[in-house]
Symmetry: C2
Subunit: 392 residues, 2 copies
């Protein structure tokens, strides 16, 4: 017969095991006041602080002062949040309104025992147990409704560790409306952000850096054809869903956070657009200038403000030091400039190996999102364009 003392001992053991398994117990990983370079097994920051000794980053510990908002905590956003958490970002602000499902288990991050929890709460719990030094705010709402949009704008404009605007917004959403909402907010608030996306056939993706007034915003060159507001949820109801792979989503999250780190910590060159085509391992890069006839009035205002500033290179905040750009180039590769088709596309500045698939509209009508009629297509049939745009 079990006596009370034995049962109490068993309870105490189970509580300790549970605390360890949940990873949110005190003793597992205490908060750390100051990032140290000390090379000991118990220092979670030694491999990051080593970036200073390696000559990659001047001031890695600055990351603890910085705040990043992540909109969408799915296949890309959750991995993005985990990478920034492990890098020791000062503060993360998460937005999503979806629940974890077993159908999400083909992507990294969430685990079966979290099924049914809200994505932001499940994510915040895991992230906090991975790194208790990161401040994490989680918002479980849809940013595209009128009320929530205003709350979203307020949060990103006052959400930093010092009460000011966040340092960067990362869009990891899966639909057109949410991207347009983020675009509208960031143009109005003059907030820099990264767009990201993965195609519904799971084998391509991209990231895009948007500096209001300096680079094309999401409304400057909208998708030619948007499948009449269909998102993943709508598709599911018909017994059809988009394909996804942990590889493609992990790679896009990796590109997103790598360029976020380069931007925030001032090293390397931040890509304005980086694509990934998995079938052929092809990675197009380019820069897009803003459209002077953009539908978004705040975009046009930011363009005017930018033009009024002294002329500087697009990427002035990116350090260009005196070391050769390919100091770590193991293959002796030299980049060759190709001729850009400037004549046809005066407001597109294309990088190597890329040419335009279509012309940007120059009229100022509201684009009809369910057809390509407002846009002058070049070289491709409407069917081909539909095919391309379906996978955006």
């Amino acid at each position: 017969m079990a006596n009370v003392e034995e049962l109490k001992k068993k309870i105490s053991e189970l509580e300790a095991k549970l605390a360890a398994a949940q990873g949110n117990s005190g003793p597992v990983r205490q908060k750390i006041d100051v990032m140290s370079s000390e090379v000991v097994d118990s220092n979670p920051y030694s491999r990051l602080m080593a970036l200073k000794r390696m000559g990659i980053v001047d001031n890695y510990e600055k990351i603890r002062e910085l705040s990043v908002a992540i909109v969408g905590v799915g296949g890309v956003g959750s991995v993005t949040a985990e990478m920034l958490t492990r890098c020791g970002i000062g503060k993360l602000i998460l937005f999503d309104y979806d629940k974890v499902e077993l159908a999400n288990m083909n992507r990294l991050f969430f685990q079966p025992h979290q099924a049914g929890l809200s994505k932001v709460d499940a994510a915040a719990g895991t992230l906090q147990s991975i790194n208790p030094d990161v401040a994490i705010d989680a918002y479980n709402y849809n940013i595209t409704t009128v009320d929530n949009f205003q709350k979203f704008c307020d949060t990103i404009s006052t959400g930093s560790l010092t009460g000011g605007p966040v340092d960067l917004v990362l869009s990891c959403v899966d639909n057109f409306e949410a991207r347009m909402a983020i675009n509208t907010a960031c143009n109005e608030l003059n907030q820099r952000w990264f767009e990201s996306g993965v195609s519904e056939n799971a084998v391509s993706g991209h990231i895009q850096f948007i500096i209001p007034g300096e680079t094309a915003c999401f409304a400057c060159a909208p998708p030619l054809v948007v499948a009449s507001k269909i998102d993943e949820k709508t598709l599911k109801k018909e017994g059809v869903c988009a394909a996804s792979l942990p590889t493609t989503m992990g790679i896009v999250a990796g590109f997103l956070v790598q360029n976020t780190l380069k931007y925030l910590l001032n090293f390397g060159n931040v890509s304005h657009y980086l694509g990934y085509s998995a079938l052929t391992d092809f990675f197009p890069t380019m820069s897009l200038k803003p459209n002077p006839q953009c539908d978004d009035s705040y975009c046009r205002r930011r363009q005017t403000e930018f033009k009024a500033k002294p002329v500087v290179e697009l990427a002035t905040e990116v350090k260009e030091d005196d070391t050769p750009i390919h100091a770590d180039n193991e293959w002796g590769i030299s980049l060759v400039d190709e001729n850009s088709p400037e004549e046809e596309t005066s407001n597109l500045k294309l990088a190597e190996g890329v040419e335009v698939a279509y012309s940007i509209p120059v009229d100022n009508n509201t684009p009809e999102t369910s057809s390509g009629g407002a846009v002058a297509a070049s070289e491709l049939s409407l069917e081909e364009l539909m095919q391309q745009m379906k996978s955006m």
Copy 2:
């Protein structure tokens, strides 16, 4: 006063919570006999089976019959294992002999509460809770000792679900000796494998597909300079460690598993070599033919066998269907062949944008791993080469 019944109830509640938190309880996620395409929230395979309807993969469920060995379960190997587990691979065989430390927390996968566990056991536990359908074998030993090397060879040659050789070996190790051990084993066993690596400054990496006799093996073109057998462990003793980032390691793991899926499931084009330079977002690809004077006698034997076969393209097992190679190319990009410097490098077949940094040795002496003296360098000084090789 607590009575026995109350205490027993408390114990039962705690046990249920612990099982859920550990993610290894029965009810959280039951095994699934047959992969289904059904689009319901409870189906962890719906988004993968959708690859069939999207026209990307003909026979996705074949993945359940396939076995992959992963050598090294660190920053790259653990994420590689998680991606394959979430994709529903039939069997994973893990090799490592290291323990989880808080110093590993700047990379994805392991969590603070696992500190102190062996990497293979910690990984196997997490992976099994993510997907109980995957068979997982974990081996906690160093494959480079004489006894263990034989055990390693036996395991990969009989480790498949049907008792035959595994379908692929993935090298995710961090040192020269382990890579050479895998190379020796795979040449002898005629086993296809992928090499992977991340530089010690954390901002570049690569994957390489090695088909014995058909593509260059690791000994065909060894690193010019290897830092006299220093590995991470040795460096740590001096209070110095390599830098690492979750981004670079996650991206390299993503490339590795994406090309593994393309190879195993017969879609797209498998890259023979894919590099990643994070500072500039540059991604060199190339193909390397084997060195007829390779030091590895089994490599030379496989080359002879391959030459005796009817001449076929290197990548015959990769499906080349009739659809355009850039069907999902959103930018209308056309690839342009560049002239390869064939004269200087008869056994290197370089892809676009890449040129050789050095010549492959043609003499048959054992290369001196601690100096570049045996190699004719072209265009680069010894100091530059040392700098390049240090970061391999």
